[in-house]
Symmetry: C2
Subunit: 396 residues, 2 copies
Amino acid sequence: MSNLRQLLPRRAVRPRDPRSVSVVDRHHADFDQPLTMRSGDVLERFRIGYETYGKLNADASNAILICHALSGDSHVAGYYTDDPAEKPGWWDEAVGPGKMFDTERYFVVCSNVLGGCRGSTGPASIAPDGKPYGLRFPLVTIADMVAAQARLADYLGIERWFAVAGGSMGGMQALQWAVDLPERVANVLFIASTPRSSTQNIAFNEIGRQAIYADPHWRNGDYYGQAVKPDAGLAVARMIGHITYMSEHSLEEKFGRNLQDHTEVKYTFDTEFAVESYLQYQGFKFTERFDANSYLYITKALDYYDVAQGYGTIYDALRGVLANFLVISFSSDWLYTDKQSRQLVEPLRRLKKEVEYHRVDATFGHDSFLVEVDKMAAIISRYLDKMWERRQRVGA
Amino acid sequence: MSNLRQLLPRRAVRPRDPRSVSVVDRHHADFDQPLTMRSGDVLERFRIGYETYGKLNADASNAILICHALSGDSHVAGYYTDDPAEKPGWWDEAVGPGKMFDTERYFVVCSNVLGGCRGSTGPASIAPDGKPYGLRFPLVTIADMVAAQARLADYLGIERWFAVAGGSMGGMQALQWAVDLPERVANVLFIASTPRSSTQNIAFNEIGRQAIYADPHWRNGDYYGQAVKPDAGLAVARMIGHITYMSEHSLEEKFGRNLQDHTEVKYTFDTEFAVESYLQYQGFKFTERFDANSYLYITKALDYYDVAQGYGTIYDALRGVLANFLVISFSSDWLYTDKQSRQLVEPLRRLKKEVEYHRVDATFGHDSFLVEVDKMAAIISRYLDKMWERRQRVGA
């Protein structure tokens, strides 16, 4: 009935992109100065997992921070091994020699978010008492993720990012850098994101959390070391998320009402339609690489995100911003809509900040920033070139 | 953490509508001629639960069948008791003396669908072997629901419906009446519906089913008589459904980012935002009146729905239709979109069928057909009046 543990992917082995950053290493940095979170809780020490691509120049002026989305991690580009079946990092098309984040010019950094489960400290990490945090881990906000990234920037010797860039939740982090640490970021690339989670955004996140809470193996977050993890709940949460990343059109184009591996309707609860199998597979695969508690924490961070929080209005929040902005939305994105992008663009313009805004025609919904990279490559390359030249000229 | 079993509703007791049909009775009819389902399975006997409002006239020419949606039932209008706290039927505003389905003129019937759990035979019913069917119940399609309703029409002495009307899944049934039994329906009222479940429609239904499958208390559908039912999974399924019934706008208007019963963000996993509490409540309430297996069966019926199924194209399916059509879509409905309504309107027009089509501006999304009744009342009243007059004139 439940076909979660279905077939493995039938992916052809594609030759590696000659412009790949090729084999990269995982890094981490440990910080033992306490971090006071927005909640008021204090994290005594934490680790940040990260990767870098390209070389930092002598005056550390060529550094770009890429911030990842809900289910992303620090592995943006390249491969860990020579295994020809290995998939590259999640934005491999975007980061590499000659690509839009050109590693021949820029030193690109990406770190796993605080609260995550891919190298940085989060609810699955061991607390000072020797046991996993579970729900004892403090609630994390986008601002806390940025504060942790700032420690990493200090550690790497980067006083000011040439750019902070991100799609989806990554865009929220990029924006928050400009708000919280205006001197430390020259350019913000805010892609398929929102300055404020909408009611519907919160609603979808809450349903995902409810799916995890409903799994008896979740055990109030205390499942580490148990034989069975709350994978069933996490898989459902992922499916709920996944449907918001695709457009109605792209689902229709990709699957239509095609049946799964059979030609006649079977009239059973076995998987009937191809789209069902696809969702099941997405849900199941996710449980192999993600921690359910981290999913809870990160969706809460998304919910809390309203750049105006703590300031009053968005104008108050943006007034002190020094960065220039590139804002990109995608026409078919119904998770973080073009309208939500404009909720950032309009106040920035009224405040006379420099902002370049593009609504890109794309059919893949929210996922467009991951799967229609070519559509934004020209925009981003041109923008970064322009800002790079300006920096050379005025030494800004 | 999981706040499903929260507060009871704080609903003011409203005085009853003086135009209510007032207290009504539940009825049922038992059928012992086998019903061959679209799957090829045969149901030896079945019961249909139904209600009626108004009086059937001498030549049985004033009968209207209302078909309910996924979570609906046969209790369209009125009350069962004199308890002032009792809520009326689900379309009480639409059915009653002087209302759009005017019970002073029409005899209005509504039956619970086959496969349901509100008076008609479904997976929770006792099979001939004395045990509940569970998943042994045959898969149900919209056409099977209609075939069962046709038995009820025979039983009630209704050869031909003056109209068959329905919103959402009810619209599918109304359409299927015109396709399968063209001589037996004069007018179809197809409201907030679709002639074909889209890929996204199927995707949302499948995620709801996965939430139920993931609940260990579901026990492959064999949970009847158990102390714990798969309510946790069913509640999540309902929440997923519910979000598709509301528009982004109506969620924003109703809840925004309002906090639930507190003024400062708490930074805990307790319910933070009002919209979360609302969804939890909707999910929990649903488990009090609905059977998880019925939810599985009915969502499968929705998935299978493509009026062209078995015919080739939608043109082939509609060619033999004799009914006139009133088609109403709602501008903010993103579950069954205006575009999907037009997928029915266009072929009907090309086939020279009589069709009146309205796209109603409404903000409540798919739920508009339930909560913005006043917006369609004039359209439906006028349409029914026109058709009623024509019938009187030509005796059609």
